[in-house]
């Protein structure tokens, strides 16, 4: 794990905070999967296990005021952004106390208070909307930034292109964060994408683009710091390509036939979570005990959220007439 020279080193506090976000993502993901396997949650689940570092690091540099737009594979992004877990669980359980009253579900989780503005199930569509959030920040004279999360496959759809071009022409405070996990559903990166590094596409929009090891918190910190600073200072957008891997295939239950056992095993062997933990301890940034304590608290939070979510009432069918328009529709 190499520290980049021309970037501010994260403080000890920041490092531990990144780890906190990572372990919160992982513990929550683990609980969701277990609950699904027990049949107590029914939903399509796109686990981001393996991709924790990216949003954990980025979120460590954001405030509640900063916004994110994310995708179906985005619960890690929300948890990293410190979205509370109780309404998250109630939502994925389809209950009234969910962020969206159970109407949106896992692919459309929304929590404006922590800046989780839009979660979309349409590949590529986080980006054009993120521009609008960034435009509003500019109009407000605010220094807040917007992050658009998306996958490698999404970099091949039209919305990517239009969004990056507009962001550059309008110099918007937005960061386009591509979580390149090497696959788009079952399609390997190089079979769908014509360029070796997605970051190169930034050249076509006159904006900076960087390919980063998305499993390396220090590299991610440096790149994210630079991009976020640029955006806050009114210098415009950046494209960050963060290389990573999804350990659990496209959707929970996916049989992974389209990849080799070896490559999967090799990727999992490089799991950033234990590696970063060991590094933190080795470097003296935290003790095993401190981290165990942190983890225990998070597990308690997750358990509480799970119980809360699954105990929350089911929505009334009247909800079909509400929130379609601002005014409730007649029965």
């Amino acid at each position: 794990m190499a520290e980049l020279s021309n970037a501010p080193a994260p403080s000890q506090e920041a490092l531990v905070d990144i780890y906190r976000r990572m372990i919160r993502i992982e513990r929550n993901d683990d609980a969701i999967r277990k609950t699904i396997r027990l049949g107590r949650l029914v939903m399509p689940y796109y686990s981001a296990r393996g991709q924790e570092v990216i949003p954990a690091t980025i979120s460590s540099l954001l405030t509640d005021d900063d916004k994110i737009c994310t995708i179906y594979r985005g619960i890690h992004d929300m948890v990293a952004k410190d979205m509370p877990l109780r309404p998250l669980w109630a939502e994925i359980a389809g209950r009234v106390d969910g962020t969206c009253k159970g109407k949106g579900g896992p692919m459309h989780l929304t929590h404006p208070e922590t800046g989780v503005m839009v979660t979309t199930g349409i590949v590529g569509s986080s980006m054009p909307i993120a521009n609008g959030l960034a435009w509003a920040a500019k109009l407000d004279g605010s220094k807040r930034v917007t992050i658009a999360y998306f996958g490698d496959g999404a970099s091949n759809i039209g919305a990517f292109h239009e969004a990056l071009n507009l962001a550059s022409v309008w110099k918007l405070p937005v960061i386009f964060v591509c979580q390149n996990n090497g696959f788009a559903e079952h399609t390997r990166y190089e079979n769908g994408t014509s360029v070796d590094f997605i970051a190169k596409r930034a050249i076509g929009y006159g904006m900076p683009g960087h390919t980063v090891d998305g499993n390396d918190p220090l590299a991610m910190y440096a790149a994210a710091h630079e991009a976020i600073t640029r955006a806050r200072e009114g210098e415009g957008p950046t494209l960050l390509e963060c290389k990573t891997f999804r350990f659990l295939g496209h959707v929970l239950g996916d049989d992974d036939k389209y990849m080799t056992k070896e490559e999967k095993a090799a990727a999992i062997a490089k799991d950033p979570l234990p590696a970063f933990k060991a590094w933190l301890v080795a470097q003296g940034h935290a003790t095993e005990d401190q981290l165990a304590d942190m983890q225990a608290k998070i597990e308690a939070e997750v358990e509480d959220a799970q119980e809360f979510g699954l105990a929350s009432p089911l929505p009334s069918v009247d909800e079909l007439r509400r929130d379609v328009f601002a005014q409730e529709m007649p029965a």
């Binding site: 969206c100 929304t110 839009v118 609008g132 509003a136 500019k138 109009l139 919305a159 328009f325 601002a326």
Partner: protein, 328 residues
């Protein structure tokens, strides 16, 4: 209130200026909309960027997805963007943003997100722009939950309804149509918004109700003198808002007349007229003196040749014929 003679295009410009002056959250974006770019290809937005600043009136690249996306994002942040999609056929390149996002974010977020955008778009046959520049697609949007569909026919309505769209908390698609754009009328300089969802009775009558909207209202109106001469008392209802449509007004009118003709410029087949006609037939079953008929474009793309384009549009003569047939 001072009224002025202007056409519907000028009424749009006037509505935008009034809305921007009254509420600094109102924004305008779209291709060529700023004065540097001539204030819009038709001039609909002329003068706005000069008056309200380049921050609030922004020309965009040719990127309809990015246009609607930017509008949505700004709306989520408390702004009221008016996005121009130059022609309605180009909504097809932004349809994901409109249908999957603008229309649905409120519901999918359980009411947390509100997307008060207005999409202004022009369409309509009559200018020989052929197959890809003139479709009336209001039926698609009316079938979409979460978006309102507004289709005025007179300058005063263009202005008053656009003002309402801009202030409405829901996304609205505001349809400007070739056949009515340059027809002049009286418009208040400072206008009162006209409520969405309320029809306008263009002419009262007792024998038959014609339901129409957008430019087609003018073609129906043009048929009225001949029908009056033929001794037929027509009630002409301009829906103004296609969705939500004014069921009460329409049903009340047909309950009175006992006959209905629904006329739109859009393709008849599986068109928006089906909703209105079948609702009338269902709600007033047994009370009708004749079947409810629908007129619309043939199931064909809009043709180029003038002779074909003329035949494509439902003319005043065809409206008159259909009314007479229903009275027979």
């Amino acid at each position: 209130m001072t009224a002025k003679k202007m056409n519907s295009l000028q009424a749009v410009n006037s509505a935008l200026a009034q809305a921007m002056a009254e509420d600094n959250k109102v924004l305008v974006l779209g291709e060529d909309v700023a004065d540097r770019e001539g204030g819009g290809v038709t001039g609909a937005t002329a003068g706005l960027s000069t008056r309200f600043g380049d921050d609030r009136v922004k020309s965009t690249p040719i990127s309809e997805q990015a246009i609607i996306g930017a509008a949505i994002g700004a709306a989520l942040s408390g702004y009221k963007p008016v996005a121009e999609i130059m022609l309605m056929n180009f909504t097809t390149v932004a349809m994901d943003m409109i249908f999957n996002h603008a229309a649905k974010l409120r519901f999918m977020s359980g009411g947390q997100s509100t997307v008060p955008i207005t999409i202004r778009t022009l369409t309509g046959a009559g200018w020989q722009t052929a197959g890809q520049h003139a479709d009336h697609l209001e039926g698609w949007f009316a079938h979409t939950a979460g978006i309102k569909v507004v289709a005025p026919s007179t300058p005063a309505d263009y202005k008053g309804l656009l003002l309402s769209c801009i202030q409405d908390p829901d996304p609205c698609i505001f349809i400007e149509s070739a056949g009515s754009l340059f027809i002049p009328g009286e418009v208040d300089e400072v206008a009162t918004p006209i409520p969405l969802g309320k029809a306008r009775i263009v002419q009262e009558g007792t024998d038959i109700t014609i339901v129409s909207w957008s430019s087609q209202v003018l073609r129906c109106q043009a048929a009225l003198p001949a029908l009056a001469e033929a001794g037929i008392s027509v009630e002409l209802v301009d829906l103004r808002t296609v969705s939500p449509w004014d069921r009460e007004a329409v049903l009340a009118s047909v309950a009175k007349t006992g006959r209905a003709l629904v006329v739109h410029e859009a393709v008849r087949d599986f068109g928006p007229g089906g909703e209105i006609a079948s609702t009338i037939a269902e709600e007033l079953f047994g009370q009708l003196k004749a079947p409810v008929r629908r007129l619309g474009a043939p199931k064909s793309p809009v043709p180029f040749a003038k002779v074909l384009e003329d035949a494509y549009i439902v003319s005043p003569e065809r409206v008159a014929e259909a009314v007479k047939a229903l009275m027979a």
